[in-house]
C-alpha cells in the first residue's frame, strides 16, 4: 500500500471530492501504475481518500492511500507526470496495510487571508464560538479551535477536521466577529489527534 500527500491548487480546488477520486484512478491508468481492484459485482480501484472538504478551498495537504506495490519515488514521478492540472504529489510512503486517512486526520491547519487583524487571545479565551449548522441549529464549536496566530496579515489556525467545524463556517464567524473582506482560506496541513502531520504519525 502507498500513502501519498498531494496539493490541490490552481483551479483544482473546484473539483468535487468524488471527481478527484475518479481523476486519481485515471491518473493511475494513464501512468500505468498497477492498482488492486475490489472483488465483487462492480470491481473498482482500491483508492481511499481523506474526508471531503468544501469545494473551492485550496489545499497543500490532501492524503490518499492506494493499494499498489509501486515504490514511493517512482510513484511521485508518475503521478506528477499524468495528474490533471493542479493536483501535485508532494510525498509518498509505503505502509503496511490500511491507515486511517479518512478517520485519523482530525485536525487541520489553515491560513486565512482577509480577516481584519484582531487579538487572538480574545478568540482563544472565549467560552463560546457559536456557528449555525446546515439544518439551522446553533452549535458551540469552541473546543474545535486549537490554536491561532498572526503572521503578518495572515491568520494561521488549527481547527477540527471532519468533525463538525468546516473552515467556511469558521471564517464566516470570524468575519462576523472581527470584520474583513475577500476572505481566502487555504488548508496547509492535515494533523492527527496529537497535532502531528498525518504522515509523521504513522511512520
Amino acid at each position: 500500500m502507498i500513502l501519498f500527500k498531494f496539493t490541490k491548487t490552481g483551479g483544482a480546488e473546484f473539483l468535487a471530492h468524488l471527481d478527484i477520486l475518479r481523476h486519481i484512478g485515471r491518473t493511475m491508468r494513464r501512468a500505468g501504475v498497477k492498482v488492486a481492484f475490489s472483488q465483487g459485482f462492480n470491481p473498482h480501484m482500491l483508492v481511499y481518500m481523506s474526508a471531503p472538504m468544501g469545494i473551492g478551498i485550496p489545499s497543500l495537504a490532501e492524503y490518499c492511500q492506494i493499494d499498489t506495490d509501486e515504490p514511493p519515488e517512482s510513484f511521485i514521478e508518475k503521478f506528477n507526470e499524468f495528474a490533471p492540472n493542479g493536483l501535485t504529489c508532494v510525498g509518498a510512503w509505503t505502509t503496511q496495510g490500511k491507515v486511517g486517512v479518512a478517520s485519523d486526520i482530525v485536525k487541520a491547519e489553515y491560513t486565512v487571508k482577509g480577516i481584519n487583524k484582531f487579538d487572538v487571545s480574545d478568540l482563544l479565551q472565549r467560552q463560546e464560538f457559536i456557528i449555525t449548522t446546515k439544518d439551522g441549529r446553533e452549535k458551540n464549536v469552541r473546543e474545535l479551535i486549537y490554536s491561532a496566530e498572526w503572521e503578518g496579515d495572515i491568520l494561521r489556525a488549527v481547527i477540527g477536521f471532519g468533525n463538525g467545524l468546516r473552515i467556511e463556517k469558521f471564517t464566516d464567524k470570524l468575519l462576523e466577529l472581527y470584520g474583513g473582506n475577500e476572505v481566502v482560506a487555504t488548508k496547509t496541513r492535515g494533523l492527527n489527534k496529537d497535532g502531528k502531520d498525518f504522515e509523521d504519525g504513522i511512520k
Binding site: 473546484f14 484512478g25 485515471r26 491508468r29 470491481p43 499524468f82 495528474a83
Partner: protein, 589 residues
C-alpha cells in the same frame, strides 16, 4: 471566471477548463470558439464538437476554444453583475473571437443559443451585428433545416464538418470584412448564408419560393477512414453524461427507418477500417485513462466487421476496458458481444406494437428476431428490459397500441420459459410522440394532438397497469414544440426570440421547459403553431427545400406511399434502393 463567482455556483468545475488532455491554446490569427448550447456534462460527452475543434486547431494560424452554456445559477450572476461570458481555455470574452460556432444537436437547444449570445454581450439578431462582433456560425444535424434560426445565424454549415470547417477557417484568414467572407464562403460546399437568400410567402402562409436557383448541397466527407480524428480526448473535470473514450465506427445508417431523420441526412454509410479504429481507440484510452470505450454510430450492430473489430480491440486495449455499444438495434443484438459485467437493463426500441406498423415505418424486425435477441440477453443475465415506442405514427390504430401489451406478455413468457432465471423481470415501457422531421418519408405527416396522445396513453395504461410494468411517456408540449422547430420556416425565428425574451432557455431540461411561455410567444408574434404540425401538401415548397442532402424528394415520396401500403424497403445492405445518394457517392453494398 473569477474565483469569487465560482465559489457561489453549483459544480464550479464546469467552468474552470484546463482538463487533462485539453489542448494548450494560444491566440492565433483566426480565433474560433465552438459553442455547445447545453451544460458542460452534456457538451463534454459530444463527439462532433471535439472533431470540429480538432480540425480547426490543425489549421495553421487557427485556434479553436470552447464554451458551453452556464447553468442558470451562473447565468443569473453574470447578467446581474455585468460579467461577459468567456471561453473555457483562453478565458477570452466570446465577443472577442472572430467566429463562434454553435452545434445544433437538438431543436430544443435553440433558445439556449440566444441565452449564450446574450450573456456574451452579442446582439441576438444578425442584422444588428456589425463588423465589431464575431461571425456566428452553426452546424450539426439540425442545420438541415436552418430556417428557424436564419434571423440569428450568419452562416450555416450543412453536412460533414471535417473539411468544410477547415476551408472556412482558411478563408476567414484571407478576408478583410465580414461581408467579403460571407460572400466567398458560399463557394464552400455545405455553406448557407441566410442574408444572401430571400424567401417569398404566399397569402396562405405557404412558401412561394427562394431567391436561389439551386439548393445548397450539403458538405460530404467521402473518406471517413482517412478523415481527421482527434488522437486525444480531454477528461471532463466533473462526471459527464458519457464518461468514456469514443470512437466513431460508422457515419450513416443502412436502415432507412421512415421516421428517423439521422437515417437519411447522414447518408451515405461510411465506415472506418478495423485498423484505424483500433489505433484511434488505443490512443484515446491510453491518453485519457478512461476505462470504457464507446463504439459510436447510428447502428453499430450493422458495422460489417464488428466481430473483427471487437476481437482487435480486446487484443490491443487493457483487458479491463469495458466496451459499450450504444444504439444496438433489436435484430443486430448479438449475445456474444454483450459485455460480461453490468448485467442490468437492456434497451430495445421496437417503436411500434404490431408487425404491420413496424412495416409501415420500415423497422425491419420480426418477432423471431425479437425472441432470439431477448433469449440471448436473458441467458447473459439481463433482468431488466426497457422498451421504446412511438405514439402517433402514420396509420396507427388502437390495435397497434394494444399490441404493445402483447409484446410485454410475450417477453415475460420468454423470460419465464427458463426456470433458472430466478429474479423477477423488470419491464419498463416508454412512449414518445412521433415528430415528423425534414428529409424523412414522413416529413409531410401531421403530428397528433394532445387529446389523441392522452387517449393512447390511457388505453396503454389501462391494459398494462396490472402487469407489473412501468409506463412512462414524454411531455406532449415538448414534442409539439420540437415538431414546430424542426419543420419551421423563418417566421418561427420570431417565436424563438420572443420565447427567449420571456425567459425560455434550457428547454430540453423538462423542469425548465415552460409550455405556457412558449404558447404566449406564438400568440404575441402572431404565428400559428398548428400551421407547422399539420399535414403538408406533397406539392408544397418546404422550408428545407433550399437544402440538398442528396436524398431525392421523389424517393421520399415513394417511401411514403410504400409506408401506407405497409411495405418494407429494407436495409441498403440488401441492395441499392436508389435514394439518390448513389449519384454522388459509390455506396459499396
Amino acid at each position: 471566471m473569477k474565483e469569487s463567482i465560482l465559489k457561489r455556483v453549483e459544480k464550479p468545475s464546469r467552468y474552470i477548463g484546463g482538463e487533462y488532455g485539453a489542448p494548450k491554446l494560444k491566440k492565433g490569427r483566426f480565433n474560433f470558439c465552438i459553442c455547445f448550447p447545453d451544460v458542460y456534462e452534456v457538451a463534454m460527452s459530444n463527439l462532433s464538437i471535439r472533431i470540429v475543434a480538432d480540425v480547426i486547431n490543425k489549421v495553421e494560424g487557427a485556434t479553436c476554444d470552447r464554451c458551453f452554456a452556464p447553468w442558470s445559477d451562473l447565468g443569473d450572476i453574470l447578467k446581474k453583475e455585468g460579467v461577459l461570458l468567456e471561453s473555457l481555455d483562453l478565458k477570452m470574452p466570446l465577443k472577442d473571437f472572430d467566429m463562434l460556432g454553435f452545434t445544433l444537436q437538438y431543436e430544443m437547444s435553440y433558445t439556449t443559443i440566444l441565452y449564450m449570445l446574450d450573456l456574451a454581450g452579442i446582439p441576438l439578431k444578425r442584422e444588428d451585428r456589425g463588423e465589431e462582433f464575431p461571425i456566428i456560425q452553426a452546424g450539426g444535424p439540425c442545420a438541415v433545416n436552418p430556417e428557424p434560426l436564419a434571423d440569428f445565424i450568419d452562416i450555416f454549415v450543412v453536412g460533414d464538418g471535417e473539411e468544410s470547417m477547415q476551408e472556412l477557417a482558411k478563408l476567414k484568414m484571407e478576408c478583410k470584412s465580414k461581408s467579403e467572407f460571407l460572400q466567398r464562403a458560399c463557394s464552400v460546399q455545405g455553406v448557407y448564408v441566410p442574408s444572401l437568400v430571400d424567401v417569398k410567402y404566399k397569402e396562405n402562409g405557404q412558401i412561394e419560393g427562394f431567391s436561389i436557383k439551386e439548393p445548397i448541397k450539403k458538405a460530404l466527407l467521402k473518406d471517413l477512414d482517412g478523415a481527421e480524428f482527434p488522437s486525444v480526448q480531454a477528461v471532463p473535470n466533473c462526471e459527464s453524461v458519457f464518461d468514456r473514450a469514443v470512437i466513431e465506427v460508422m457515419r450513416g445508417c443502412y436502415r432507412g427507418c421512415r421516421f428517423c431523420q439521422a437515417g437519411f441526412i447522414y447518408r451515405p454509410v461510411r465506415a472506418r477500417g478495423v485498423k484505424t479504429l483500433t489505433e484511434q481507440a488505443c490512443s484515446l484510452v491510453k491518453g485519457s485513462g478512461f476505462s470504457e470505450l464507446g463504439l459510436n454510430s447510428l447502428s453499430t450492430g450493422d458495422y460489417p466487421h464488428l466481430k473483427e473489430l471487437i476481437r482487435s480491440l480486446k487484443d490491443n486495449l487493457p483487458s479491463d476496458v469495458h466496451l459499450s455499444l450504444p444504439s444496438l438495434r433489436l435484430d443486430s443484438f448479438d449475445g456474444e458481444f454483450v459485455q460480461e459485467s453490468r448485467k442490468s437493463s437492456l434497451t430495445f426500441a421496437p417503436e411500434a406494437g404490431t408487425q404491420r406498423l413496424r412495416d409501415v415505418i420500415n423497422k425491419d424486425i420480426t418477432e423471431e428476431d425479437v425472441e432470439r435477441g431477448l433469449n440471448m440477453a436473458f441467458d447473459n443475465g439481463y433482468t431488466g428490459i426497457k422498451l421504446y415506442f412511438m405514439f402517433g405514427l402514420p396509420t396507427e390504430t388502437e390495435e397497434d397500441i394494444i399490441a404493445i401489451c402483447d409484446i410485454v406478455d410475450r417477453i415475460r413468457k420468454i423470460y419465464s420459459a427458463n426456470p433458472q432465471r430466478a429474479r423477477r423481470l423488470r419491464i419498463s415501457v416508454s412512449a414518445s410522440t412521433f415528430i415528423p422531421k425534414p428529409f424523412t418519408p414522413f416529413q409531410w405527416e401531421r403530428q397528433i394532438t394532445e387529446a389523441e396522445v392522452k387517449q393512447k396513453v390511457d388505453l396503454l395504461r389501462s391494459r398494462l397497469y396490472s402487469k407489473n410494468t412501468t409506463v412512462s411517456w414524454n411531455d406532449f408540449a415538448l414534442s409539439e414544440m420540437e415538431a414546430v422547430l424542426a419543420r419551421g420556416d423563418r417566421r418561427v425565428g420570431r417565436v424563438i426570440l420572443r420565447a427567449y425574451e420571456k425567459g425560455c432557455y434550457f428547454d430540453g431540461w423538462t423542469d425548465k421547459f415552460d409550455a405556457k411561455k412558449w404558447n404566449e410567444a406564438f400568440e404575441e408574434v402572431n404565428v400559428d403553431k398548428t400551421f407547422y404540425t399539420r399535414e403538408w401538401g406533397e406539392d408544397e415548397i418546404l422550408p428545407w427545400d433550399l437544402i440538398d442532402v442528396f436524398v431525392d424528394k421523389a424517393f421520399l415520396l415513394r417511401e411514403r406511399k410504400k409506408a401506407y401500403r405497409a411495405e418494407v424497403t429494407g436495409s441498403c445492405k440488401t441492395g441499392c434502393k436508389g435514394c439518390g445518394i448513389q449519384k454522388v457517392y459509390g455506396c459499396n453494398v
